[in-house]
Structures are given as C-alpha cells and as structure tokens.
C-alpha cells in the first residue's frame, strides 16, 4: 500500500508556490510513526531529522539555517531556503508540513470579559 502524501498546510503551499528557491522560510514538520506503527523514540526522532536534512541537502545543495527538534513529539521546525522545504515535504517520512507563521489568530479568545472584585 503506497504511503499517503503528507498533509500540507494550504498557507505553506501558497508560500512555496510564490517564493523563489533561495527565499528563507520557516516550516514545521511532523514525522510518521515507525514502519511497525509505533511511535518514534526521542533518539529515533533526532536521528530521522538529521538523516532527512542531509538527504534534502544532497538533493538540493541547500542547507537549513536553523533547526529545532521536538523529540518527544516526532516533530521539528526548520528555517531554510524554500527549495529545501519543498524537498522535505516530498519525503515519505513526513506526515505533515505547516507554515510556522499562521495568518489567523490561533487563540480562542473570550467573547466577553468583566473585571470583578473579591470580597474582603
């Protein structure tokens, strides 16, 4: 059964379509579970991210500017040229890719607020 494509954030997709290959952008990736379906350990997450970045570098010649690995949750954030981001998205190990900066307000803000004094 072929691996399904990574879930791609429409905002990231749009940015990649519009940006030249050399333009730096920030993206956040999650990794698929292991082939057996179990989660990746922190060590396996770190090793996988390193391997993917090396593979993308070999394919594109581009290098990541900054990387943060979230090893407890099989994810990482990367600041890199667009061509490297595009390359990463195509790897089967990637479950989802999102633009780091989102346009909408993510906080679910209260609809009403009133200050209150407690009794003494």
């Amino acid at each position: 059964m072929p691996t399904p494509k990574a879930v791609l954030d429409p905002l990231l997709n749009q940015r990649l379509l519009e940006a030249p290959d050399s333009e730096a952008m920030d993206a956040v990736f999650t990794l698929r579970p292991s082939a057996k379906g179990s989660g990746l350990t922190p060590a396996a997450t770190r090793a996988t991210v390193e391997r993917l970045l090396l593979r993308a570098h070999k394919l594109t010649g581009a290098t990541a500017i900054q990387v943060t690995v979230f090893d407890n949750i099989q994810s990482f954030a990367v600041s890199a040229p667009a061509i490297l981001i595009k390359s990463l998205i195509g790897f089967k190990e990637i479950a989802s890719a999102m633009s780091n900066q989102q346009q909408q307000d993510l906080l679910i803000r209260p609809v009403a607020r009133r200050e209150v004094k407690l009794p003494k």
Partner: protein, 407 residues
C-alpha cells in the same frame, strides 16, 4: 477549510460561485445553476435555522422555513453562495454561467467586551458547583499529585490564587527553542484565567479552581503572533514533564489535519488532550479540538443553555461525528487575571479548563486509570439538560460523582 477538505470531512462544501454576469443577467445565470446546489443539514444556514428553532417562539417560529435554503443570490455582485456536494461542485465548475468557484468566505464578529466592574460573592463558583465537584473535594479528591499541562499565553506566577500551583514553566522563541531562565508570567490574561479554573486555590472565601490540589506545567505558546513552532515546543515540553492531561484553548478555524499525528501521539502516551472547540457558533469548529482524538469542549451558561457563541459541527465520519464531545461551564466564569485581579470571562476557552480540572480530580481518585478510561467515565456521566440538543451539546454536561462511579 478548503473545498476538498470540506467535501471529505463534511460531505458537502460551502462555495461562492462567481457568475460571468451581474444584475439581471446574473439572476438568469443563478437560475441556470440552481440545480447544482443542495439543501443540507451540514451548512451554516442549517445550523442557523436550528439555533433559530430553539430560540424563536410563537408566530415568528411558524414562519421559519422547513429546510435551509440551498443557495443565496446576490445579483448586483454576480455571486451565488450555497452548498454543494462533490457532484454539484464538478457541475458548477463546468457550467457556462460560472466564471469561477471559490470557498465561501467565513467572517467572525469582533465582539464587544463589557467593562463595568462587578463584585463576587463568597462561595464556590457556579461552574464548579454545576459539575458536582465539591462532593469529590469532601472525599479528599482535589487533584493532588496530578500534573496538568497548560499551554496558553502564560501564567502570572505571583497571583495569590496560584500560589504553589505552578510546578514548571517554559517560554519559547519563534523557532521553538526554549528561553533560558524564563519565570512564570502572562503575556495576556487568558492564560492566568484558564490556569485559575484548572487549579486555582481559594482566595477570600471564593473558590473557582476545579482541582485546587493539582499542579500545572505551564508554557507560553501564544502571544498574538501565531507561531506554530511555539505550540509544538510547548507540547514537546509538557510530554517531557510527564503531564497526564493537556488543556489547550487554541486552534485553527475549520478542519486542518496538521496536528492530527501529534494528538494521536498524545493518546499513545496516555495523555488526555482536552481542547476548546471554538467560539464561532453553530456550524463551526477549530482544529485540533474537532479531531476524533481530542476531548473537545463547548460552553454552556448558568441557566443550563448552550451558549450561542459555542462552536458545534457535524462531520462526515463514522466515529464521533459531532463536536464538541460535551459542554462545560463557559459563561461568566470567574477566575484570576494578572496582578492580583479577577475577572468574569465567557468562551469555550473557559469551559475547557473546567473539564481538564475534572479529569485531574478523577485521575487522583483512580491513579491506575488510563486517559481513555477517564474520558469514557466523563462521557458516561454526561446528560443533556432541558433545552439542550445533541447537535449543539453532544453528550451534554458531565457529573463528577457519576463519573467516579464508572471508574
């Protein structure tokens, strides 16, 4: 949500068909494409009609249409807004009268906030009472020993209501790297308020924390700028802190699968993800709150009615089609805000920490119970109050004492 995601998740999509002509010719064009649209129970119009049916009385109620309209025509703009299924969308795109088909825009009201200061009375807040929580306190269950993950705008660590409540705190930069030496503080007031609802200690005879014995692993993951790496850094950090529950009141509008693998991972790690469903009303929801894997929370008021602002949506999926999973106290919720102050706030963000606190109390009572079992017990304890409908409240309101009996 883009059109493909709407069709996949809801079975229908709400579209804006831009006609090739305007005014009189547009009206003719609209008639020509009318058959491509369909009336459905999953549209915004359907959700609005449902809300009207539960609130409008007498002669006005008799005038409500039996079915939601399949489309609306705006001839001067040359636009038709309506709902289509997959087949209808394909026909619309091919129709000679149509220039293009776009997702229907979704707008949010910028709501006013009240500013008059009120006075609180001594006692326990209505929301904590409504859940039946004080009875568990009397049995010695107040969340002691349970660590709850709290990802929000931060938390005022010096607030008297949160004394001893914050076990750990973190802050992250724009690429999710930890800020060394960060001390508990709030970049807004939202985080302090939700933290207080989970684990606030009583102050001056006023009790508003559901689990006043619990502790929080709290991190700033949102402060106006909407940076995903911060949220992931927070999730990564709370997992490392070994939390049992994650309370989060943030999300992307509509359905977005980007966080799905993460929430599934939280479940595999036996962490209960308690997420707000959103404040955009009927026919809406936010991700990750609207995932099957999330325990999604909507809001109800002291009169036992689901708040009009509380999001709810029905998805085209066999398991858990309706979100939220249940409703919690979410209107005029008293809690703490920075600098030693207090405020009433309303929102599904206020309901969510009530449920997170309830889960903490149950976890203390039954330390061997898994997250899924805690959730199952909370669900089984729920009931719909008079006037609540399942499409808006799903299972309804939980009961702490009943939930404990199911564990």
């Amino acid at each position: 949500m883009d059109l493909n995601t709407q069709l996949k998740m809801l079975g229908v999509a709400e579209v804006m068909a831009v006609l090739k002509s305007t005014n009189g010719e547009a009206t003719k064009g609209a008639k020509a494409i009318a058959d491509h649209f369909r009336s459905t129970g999953s549209s915004h119009d359907a959700a609005l009609l449902e809300t009207l049916r539960s609130t409008v009385k007498g002669k006005a109620a008799a005038k409500l249409p039996k079915r939601p309209p399949p489309f609306h025509v705006y001839p001067h703009l040359g636009i038709v807004l309506g709902t289509v299924d997959k087949d209808g969308l394909a026909k619309l795109r091919k129709d000679k009268a149509v220039a293009k088909v776009l997702p229907a825009p979704v707008l949010s009201l910028i709501r006013p906030t009240a500013s008059d200061e009120a006075k609180a009375k001594k006692g326990i807040t209505w929301g904590v009472e409504a859940l039946g929580v004080p009875k568990l306190w009397h049995q010695g269950c107040n969340g002691k020993g349970i660590l709850v993950g709290h990802l929000d705008t931060g938390v005022d660590g010096k607030h008297p209501a949160l004394k001893g409540a914050i076990a750990a705190f973190a802050e992250f930069n724009l690429l999710g790297q930890p800020v060394p030496g960060a001390k508990p503080h709030d970049t807004d007031e939202h985080g302090t308020h939700t933290a207080g609802t989970i684990a606030g200690r009583a102050v001056n005879g006023v009790s508003f924390g559901v689990a006043p014995g619990a502790k929080l692993a709290s991190a700033i993951v949102i402060e106006g700028g909407n940076v995903v790496a911060r949220i992931l850094a927070g999730m990564n950090w709370v997992v490392g802190q070994k939390v049992r529950i994650l309370s989060m009141s943030l999300g992307l509008r509509g359905y977005d699968g980007s966080f799905l693998f993460l929430v599934q991972l939280l479940r595999r790690l036996d962490i209960l993800p308690v997420f707000a469903v959103g404040n955009e009303g009927s026919g809406t929801s936010r991700s990750p709150g609207n995932y099957v894997e999330a325990l999604s929370v909507g809001a109800y008021d002291e009169k036992g009615q689901v708040a009009l602002f509380s999001s709810s949506q029905k998805f085209n999926r066999p398991k858990d089609p309706i979100v939220p999973d249940l409703v919690g106290p979410g209107v005029d919720v008293l809690s703490c805000i920075p600098n030693g102050r207090y405020a009433l706030m309303s929102g599904s963000s206020m309901a969510t920490p009530h449920i997170a606190g309830l889960a903490a109390i149950l976890m203390q009572a039954k330390p061997k119970a898994k997250a899924n079992q805690i959730e199952g017990a909370i669900f089984k304890s729920c009931r719909l109050l008079k006037g609540m409908t399942a499409d808006r409240a799903n299972r309804g309101v939980p009961d702490a004492i009943k939930a404990l009996t199911f564990l």
